[in-house]
Structure formats: structure tokens, C-alpha cells
């Protein structure tokens, strides 16, 4: 573990207040309580807890790397392991910074794992795009002639798709259009787009959510029935 990560982590836990609220503390399982107590302790106990937590996070990050390895053939084993270490380091800092937010709704280890998985997943999504351009204009609309559909179904989908394309042009703000097209049509991972636009996944998803609401409203007004999914037809 990099020594500066340990130092930063140590500084953060020292600044952390004791467990926030009696209600939260009451609901913690014994293992989670032990984790929190050790991370808030001083001296050797604290050092050992940090090392154990880092090892736990590194294991989770390596797990994520292994799950995605088939899509990352351009990276060597050493590069992938380095990425897992970076993810574990970043996750350790994030976990310690958010320690007071842990409310015991899950085991502490489950809560900590998600930070490592997030860090690793985001890094792994971004890596293949480091040298690729991100297209914000529509790159390809599918050719329904190749969809293998019966004529009636093809006609219905063609009509719906045309309505959606019109709605994208006419109902969305330029930002909503760019984000939705890049992510949903061009296949740009949302974390890649967030990095390029200097924003967050959450902010981009909000734009996508709003865009989808506008599209659903418009095509509903045009007489298409969508139900809970996206398979639709004229009412």
C-alpha cells in the first residue's frame, strides 16, 4: 500500500467523529462494530485495521478486474494489477471519508466493497476510451431491414423509431440530446462522458432521465402506447 495513501487515510480517520447517532450504532452487527472501533482506534490497532481494510478493498478491485478482463485484452496483467491497486487506494480514502455515513443497513464489509467495485469499474470503463473520440452526434441508427422482423412488426417499430428520432430533434435541449445520443445510441460509457464533460455520472443521468421523460411524453401524445417497457405501437 502506498505510504501517502496510508497517511491520508490516517489523517481522515483521526478527524472523524465517533459513531453518528445512537440509533445507527444500535443496529450495527458485531463485526461491523469491530471494524468501526478499530478504524477509529489509535496506534497499532488502527494501523492493522487500515491494512486489513486495504487488503479487503484490493481483493474486491481485483475481482472486478477479473470480471472485465475479457473486454480489456489490450492491457497487460501488470497494468491491470496496477489499476486494481489504484482502485483500492482511492476506495480506502473514500471509505474513510464517508465512515460517518455508514448506518449499518448492510454489513460494513459489503458497504466498503461497493467503493472498491465502483473505483475499479469506472477506471476500467475509461481506460479503453483514453485515446478514442467521444461522438456526441448520432453515429448510427439501426437499419430495420436487417432486424429480422415480420413486416407488420417492422412497420410498427419503424414508425416508433421515426417518432423517437423526431422527438429527439424537437423536444430535447442540446445538452440532453448530446448526452442521450452519446450514451444510448453511440454506446459511450456514462463515466467516460462524465470525465470528458467535467461532470458526474449522477448529473449526466439526470439529463438522460429528463430527456427520456420528454420523449415518452411526446410519443405518448402522438398515440404510441409504451407500457412499462419500450416495445410500443399506435393505440
Amino acid at each position: 500500500m502506498a505510504s501517502d495513501v496510508v497517511r491520508e487515510a490516517r489523517a481522515r480517520t483521526r478527524a472523524v467523529a465517533p459513531p453518528a447517532g445512537r440509533e445507527a450504532a444500535r443496529s450495527l452487527d458485531s463485526d461491523s462494530q469491530a471494524w468501526l472501533a478499530a478504524l477509529r482506534a489509535h496506534g497499532v490497532r488502527h494501523e492493522q485495521a487500515l491494512a486489513r481494510l486495504h487488503a479487503l478493498l484490493l481483493g474486491a478491485a481485483r475481482f472486478e478486474v477479473a470480471r472485465r478482463r475479457a473486454t480489456l485484452t489490450q492491457l497487460s496483467s501488470a497494468e491491470l494489477d496496477d489499476l486494481a491497486h489504484q482502485s483500492a487506494d482511492d476506495a480506502l480514502v473514500a471509505v474513510l471519508a464517508k465512515l460517518d455515513d455508514f448506518r449499518g443497513h448492510s454489513r460494513f464489509t459489503t458497504w466498503a466493497y461497493k467503493f472498491a467495485l465502483l473505483e475499479a469499474a469506472v477506471k476500467l470503463r475509461r481506460r479503453p476510451w483514453q485515446t478514442r473520440e467521444v461522438a456526441l452526434e448520432a453515429e448510427r441508427w439501426p437499419d430495420l431491414a436487417d432486424a429480422g422482423l415480420a413486416p407488420q412488426a417492422r412497420a410498427e417499430q419503424s414508425e416508433l423509431l421515426a417518432a423517437v428520432r423526431r422527438a429527439i430533434e424537437e423536444e430535447l435541449t442540446p445538452h440532453q440530446r448530446e448526452v442521450l445520443v452519446a450514451v444510448a445510441l453511440n454506446g459511450v460509457p456514462i463515466d467516460v462522458l462524465a470525465e470528458r464533460l467535467g461532470t458526474t455520472r449522477g448529473a449526466l443521468y439526470k439529463a438522460i432521465h429528463d430527456a427520456r421523460s420528454h420523449l415518452r411524453r411526446r410519443i405518448g401524445a402522438e398515440g404510441f402506447s409504451l407500457g412499462s417497457g419500450a416495445r410500443g405501437g399506435k393505440r
Binding site: A184, G187, P189, Y205, R216, A230, G232
Partner: protein, 78 residues
């Protein structure tokens, strides 16, 4: 994961139009992810316990990948 999107029209329409109904945002999803997955693995109705989570996971592939990873990791860890 990082693969080109399918050109299947129905899947494309799903990606463009997303889930119907209310859903959580990405930050809320992350906050609830550990609880949601533990409930899933315990056989509890996680969707009833955390309304809007399932819809968000349908609409956000990145969050859903992380849910799948956490579930797989916990399943492996036992």
C-alpha cells in the same frame, strides 16, 4: 461492460426511452446498493424495500453492472 451497444431496435428503444415511472438517481442508487444486494441475497423483496431502485438499474447500465459485481462478489465470499 464496455462493448458496442446492440443495434437490436427494441433494445435501442429501451435505452433511449428508459424505464417508465419514478426511479432513484445514481447517487441514491450507490447509497442503497449494499443494502439492496444483501436483501436480494437474503431472498427478501429488495424492490419493495427500496422503491425506484429496480427502475434505475434498468435505466442505468453502469449502476446495474456494479450491482451485479457486488452480488457476484458476495456470492463468492459466502
Amino acid at each position: 461492460m464496455t462493448e458496442p451497444p446492440s443495434t437490436n431496435v427494441e433494445e435501442l428503444l429501451q435505452r433511449l426511452l428508459g424505464p417508465a415511472g419514478p426511479e432513484l438517481g445514481c447517487e441514491q442508487c450507490f447509497e442503497q446498493l449494499d443494502r439492496y444486494v444483501e436483501l436480494e441475497l437474503a431472498g427478501v423483496d429488495a424492490d419493495a424495500a427500496i422503491p425506484g431502485m429496480r427502475a434505475h438499474l434498468h435505466g442505468c447500465p453502469a449502476c446495474d453492472e456494479e450491482r451485479a459485481s457486488l452480488r457476484a462478489l458476495l456470492s463468492r465470499a459466502g
